[in-house]
């Protein structure tokens, strides 16, 4: 049979713990679950191939949020992340990460992943954040995925590559029961019964449209089309603070970070067209992005990463990391344009919008063990609500969720689900393959994402959002009735288009619900310009209730690390004061 034909067969398997998404959090979750109960069955399901999937496909330039004894304490980190998120955090989850992540770094070190060390052999941590010191460079960060993959092979996990999960199965008692997946190369269905499921499907990275004209030229790994968010939603889980969009400062035209995290510790900084600093701190936060946006709008734009004042040897060292590790096509990009960091500044711009807790705070709601609001369903990494999680958060929280999910699975039996759910899902998935004629998935996707750019990109205007909702409904109708897929590859794209429109609807709904501005640019509403702590010092939780998209508030739990009044707005003071 040739690749990409549609067969539509079906098989069924069962396991104790099912991990969906084999990028960063997923492999760690699967490993830890398996190590906890070695004779239990753990399946790791991946849309691409675990060897090279996810944000860390080629490697990573560093740990952006390492809490390392001698440099920082879990209390300091929890405080910084609380302030950076305008106070809206579940501190228990942030603290749990902060106190657990050092042991994960040691473990990654023992796998052969290399971190920067000083002459004494100690980790050489750098300051990039506004207050504390948390960035640990990985000049040989290209080792990360390979080292992880070696551990997976050793642990004898069951890995299913090229299976795209499409929906979760929930039991009659409300517990998780498993998932349905479809093979991306032959459209074979796989029903996986599981006692617990961990979602590790990354950010919703294909929500906004990059201005380059390439739909897959996104900041996030473009395989992360928001399927995890859509699946959690349809399974009834709560999704937290989706209005806190991800928006990142990138290189203009190129879909990679300019990377002040790498270059900053060497003396590089973000500058305006005068070559002058305008922000105090290059750490990515909504408040920083707002100043970035303001500078772009003013006569002082564009914004640049400035390195040309540094010594040539220093620049060579920075180039070595930036051109080889995480986004290795970056070197080619600069070479094409003859951009020499020694001579000129690197032009930057603002990325498309997305959902991501790894970089901001929009994710499936989880507690400090990675538990969602659906019993037996977990989430970790970019798609789970622990804010500013980054790569080490994916590893650490994946690990915590893996262990807890296995404990849960050890105590329960499979939940019973309705077999009609499988038949209904098979019909939904295959519908675009049954039509002779219609609209290809790439056009459904393009239209959705173009509307996202036109109407949802902050600053958020109520009227524009309401128009967006109407347009999305029209596209959804086209999708449900006219989308076509002629082979299994197009079928995968059509399923992604469906996740993307779900995410677009959620982005609009969540943003309209919170009638205030918060998190700098991430949730800047023109009709509600001010932060309103009186009414909105809370999480928002979006979920599907009786088939309808619903938002509600959820109180912020009492802090375990108190924040003094004069510390609360430290991240609001990003702009450098011009001395007269």
């Amino acid at each position: 049979m040739t690749m990409d034909q549609i067969t539509g067969g079906m098989s069924e398997v069962s396991c104790d713990v099912l991990v969906i998404g084999g990028g960063t959090a997923g492999p760690m979750a699967a490993l830890k679950a398996k190590r906890k109960t070695p004779d239990a069955t753990v399946i790791l399901l991946e849309k691409a191939n675990v060897k090279r999937s996810g944000a860390i496909s080629m490697g990573m330039d560093g740990l952006n949020n390492a809490v390392i004894p001698g440099y920082a304490t879990p209390e300091q980190y929890t405080k910084e992340i609380t302030i950076a998120n305008d106070g809206i955090v579940n501190q228990k989850a942030v603290y749990k990460y902060a106190e657990s992540c050092y042991s994960i770094i040691e473990e990654l070190d023992s796998y052969g992943i290399r971190f920067l060390k000083n002459e004494n052999g100690d980790f050489d941590v750098k300051k990039v954040h506004h207050i504390g010191t948390y960035v640990l460079p990985m000049p040989n960060g290209e080792t990360v995925k390979k080292a992880l993959y070696r551990q997976l092979r050793r642990a004898r996990l069951l890995i299913s590559n090229r299976y795209m999960a499409t929906r979760l199965l929930t039991g009659k008692d409300g517990r998780i029961a498993g998932a349905i997946a479809v093979n991306t190369r032959n459209a074979e269905f796989l029903v996986i019964r599981a006692k617990s499921v961990i979602l590790c499907m990354g950010a919703a990275g294909r929500l906004g449209l990059p201005t380059s004209g390439y739909m897959y030229g996104t900041y996030e790994n473009a395989a992360n089309s928001g399927d995890g968010y859509a699946m959690a939603y349809h399974a009834g889980a709560g999704l937290a603070n989706l209005e806190s969009f991800q928006i990142n400062p990138l290189i203009k035209d190129y879909n990679g970070p300019a990377c002040a995290y790498v270059a900053g510790p060497f003396g590089a900084y973000t500058a305006n067209n005068d070559g002058a600093r305008f922000i105090e701190c290059d750490y990515w936060s909504g408040q920083m992005m707002l100043e970035f946006f303001n500078e772009l709008q003013s006569g002082k734009g564009p914004v640049f990463l400035k390195l040309n004042h540094l010594h040539s040897d220093t620049i060579s060292e920075i180039e070595h990391t930036l051109h080889n590790v995480e986004r290795p096509t970056r070197g080619n990009f600069h070479e094409n344009r003859n951009t020499d960091y020694r001579k000129e500044m690197i032009e930057m711009h603002i990325s498309e919008i997305g959902f991501c807790s790894g970089h901001s705070a929009s994710g499936v709601f989880v507690d400090e063990f990675g538990r969602t609001t659906v019993p037996g369903l977990y989430a970790a990494g970019d798609m789970a609500s622990v804010p500013h999680n980054y790569m080490l958060g994916a590893f650490t929280n994946g690990s915590i969720a893996g262990e807890d999910a296995m404990s849960y699975a050890n105590d329960v039996d499979f939940a019973d689900f309705d077999p009609a759910d499988i038949a209904a899902e098979k019909e939904r998935v295959l519908a675009p393959t049954k039509r002779e004629d219609g609209i290809p998935a790439n056009q459904i996707e393009y239209k959705t994402r173009r509307l996202v750019n036109d109407y949802l990109q902050p600053p958020k205007v109520t009227m524009k959002y309401e128009l967006a909702q109407r347009r999305f409904a029209e596209v959804r109708e086209d999708m449900e009735n006219h989308m076509i897929a002629r082979n299994s590859h197009e079928l995968m794209r059509s399923l992604e288009a469906s996740s993307i429109i779900d995410c677009a609807d959620m982005a609009a709904h969540a943003s309209l619900y919170r009638t205030e501005s918060r998190w700098g640019l991430y949730h800047l509403r023109t009709d509600y310009r001010e932060k309103n702590n009186e009414d909105w010092f809370c999480h928002t939780l979006l979920s599907k209730q009786d088939g309808v998209m619903t938002s509600e508030t959820r109180p912020v739990d009492d802090y375990i690390v108190p924040i003094a009044d004069d510390e609360k707005d430290l991240y609001d003071k990003q702009r450098i004061k011009i001395s007269a």
Binding site: T2, M3, D4, A48, N49, K51, R52, S53, G54, S57, M58, R162, T184, R185, S212, G213, Y214, M215, Y216, G217, T218, N221, A222, A223, D253, Y254, N255, R327, P328, T329, N332, F333, N336, R337, D437, G438, I439, P440, H489, M492, R493
Partner: protein, 77 residues
């Protein structure tokens, strides 16, 4: 509705003289996160079948014979 396709230059090119797909190699096809590479039925060599690239480079890095080159596509360049 009849469909038409729009011409585009693809970023990933395979040096057919170096590609050993006819001997059973499928490394680049296997590693690509976006699943856009295929082995051609006609030439028996790897090629970019779908213009849906993230410019990430596993295909180039993992090819055992150095046959793959990832270029920055025209609209980004």
């Amino acid at each position: 509705m009849p469909l038409a396709s729009q011409e585009t230059t693809v970023p990933v090119v395979v040096d057919e003289a170096k590609c050993i797909a006819e001997k059973g190699c499928t490394v680049c096809v296997e590693v690509c996160p976006l699943d856009v590479l295929r082995i051609s039925d006609m030439s028996k060599k790897a090629y970019m079948a779908y213009d849906e690239c993230w410019y990430c480079m596993p295909c180039e890095a993992d090819c055992p014979t150095g046959a793959v080159t990832v270029n920055i596509p025209y609209l980004l360049k």
